[in-house]
Amino acid sequence: MSKDAILQSRPAIHREPLDSANFGVVEKPLSTFEKLYNIGWLRKTLILVVLMVAWEGGARLLHNELLFPTFVATIDALFTGLTSGDLLVKIWASLKVLLMGYGLGIALAATLTAIGIASRIGTDFLETLTSMFNPLPAIALLPIALIWFGLGNGSLVFVLVHSVVWAVALNTHSGFLGVSNTLRMVGRNYGLGGAQYVLKILIPAAFPSILTGLKIGWAFAWRTLIASELVFGVSSGSGGLGWFIYENKNQLEIPNVFAGLLTVILIGLIVENLVFNTAETHTVRKWGMQA
């Protein structure tokens, strides 16, 4: 017999699939613990609670109000600050400057990326500017800003714009470059051009990168603001959260210093989890562009 004939000589096999009732488990609800464990915010809250307990425990062990106040003392200071309205005024002062700088930074970044995608020389222009200024810490510009704009919000907005614009422009631009060629061809197939093409194809397609840029820009702006307020505070009467921290340090009101820091953290957490997370859930996650 030939080799092939030997291989062919085995009979065919036919089988009936078993009824699924015979299997042990086809589908079974998860246990309550597994269900709870699957809730993202619950896991994060748990982490926060653990951190709070560790803080409280550590501070009590250390037992030094001046170096490291307890969590309870900090919360107490925070509540006093909030209820007296003192802290609220500072928060508002900081947020106002922050939003102004952030908004202007985004607008400028949009203009720069528009120049960047319009032509090849525009791309070079954007890339050169970004590589020049992105590594430059915004705080380093503060002395110059003080000379140009004087003591006041003008200087703060200037450094904020600097801290936001490059991060946003860089991410948006790399997002545009990453848009797949097929999608570009689809857009052109529809006869879209110019602003329509950018608005309806490029921006949504690059949205994951744009959102990342906005997030990084927000964090940079926050950091820069608090840091420059600390420097500023020495010479300026009214100020925001940074000034609040600096002022209380001078008066050795350490729980207030911690309350100020906690406020910065809380605002960061709220913006990250409420604003950006909501934006992500309703855009890039819904579209399956990000897991």
Binding site: M185, Y190, G288
Partner: protein
């Protein structure tokens, strides 16, 4: 040949005359096709067939308006093609051709609205009509990432057809699908054609697919692409199963007669 293609008028819908296409890579100027001639008539299922490197996809891109010929001209309804436009809807091979931020329905509606053809309720009705034709009515509100590859291609076809373009351009639309889905999609495409008799220009490297889906087949030789033959496919109602096999054999011989020592060249 199908009866319908014979009764249509004698002026070609799409006229490709002496088209030479060249593109530049980092190091070379590559001639993709050399003086290619062909005419597509209304309701043709016209297939561009050839081995890789015969410039068939480049040719389709030129018809799509994404490339300008260095020699010759391409005319659609006597109008010179200079840029991409919605009168030639493209269906690409890639699954990422749908806009991920739009649902199936919105994806089909978008070009209707963006080109100012139809908007609002009318566009929605038309979109649903074609989504229904490709059997995806149940998935109209799904986002592309929830669909399988075959379903995405069906949406892309519905999107192309809803625009009712002069000619539908398909660039190996089923090449990225598994063999079973691919056969199903070919049958569905033919059913759709039976419904609306649209004109389609179809690129493939599968001889069997060309014979099954095409009414006319243009054979191209590689490096650079030149027309080797233009054949009529076997009629779909042909009773003799050997006819298709014979044609397949004939095409195979023509394509591979002089390629005993064919070197695979890759231009990136």
């Amino acid at each position: 040949m199908d009866m319908n293609t014979q009764q249509t008028d004698l002026r070609p819908l799409l006229d490709v005359r002496d088209v030479t296409l060249q593109y530049k890579t980092k190091a070379h100027l590559v001639t993709a096709t050399y003086r290619v001639n062909f005419q597509v008539f209304k309701s043709d299922r016209y297939v561009l067939l050839g081995p890789s490197g015969c410039g068939k996809s480049t040719l389709l891109k030129a018809v799509g308006g994404y490339m300008t010929p260095t020699e010759g001209e391409i005319r659609l309804k006597d109008k010179l093609i200079t840029r991409p436009g919605p009168d030639r809807m493209m269906v690409f091979q890639e699954f990422d051709q749908l806009l991920p931020w739009k649902t199936v329905k919105e994806n089909v509606m978008f070009p209707l609205c963006a080109t100012g053809k139809q908007c609002g309720k009318a566009a929605e009705d038309k979109a649903m009509q074609y989504i229904d034709k490709v059997n995806l009515a149940k998935f109209a509100n799904h986002y592309p990432h929830m669909l399988s590859g075959g379903m995405k291609q069906r949406v892309a076809i519905a999107r192309g057809m809803a625009m009712e373009p002069d000619v539908l351009l398909m660039d190996e639309p089923f090449a990225a699908l598994d063999a079973l889905t691919r056969r199903k999609m070919q049958d569905e495409l033919l059913q759709l054609w039976d419904d609306t008799h649209f004109t389609v220009l179809f690129v493939t490297h599968s001889i069997a697919e060309a014979i099954k889906c095409g009414s006319r087949i243009l054979l191209l030789s590689p490096h650079p692409g030149q027309v080797k033959a233009e054949l009529a496919s076997t009629p779909r109602d042909c009773a003799d199963p050997r006819a298709a096999k014979d044609l397949e054999h004939e095409i195979h011989k023509m394509l591979f007669a002089d390629t005993i020592e064919e070197k695979e060249m890759h231009h990136v």
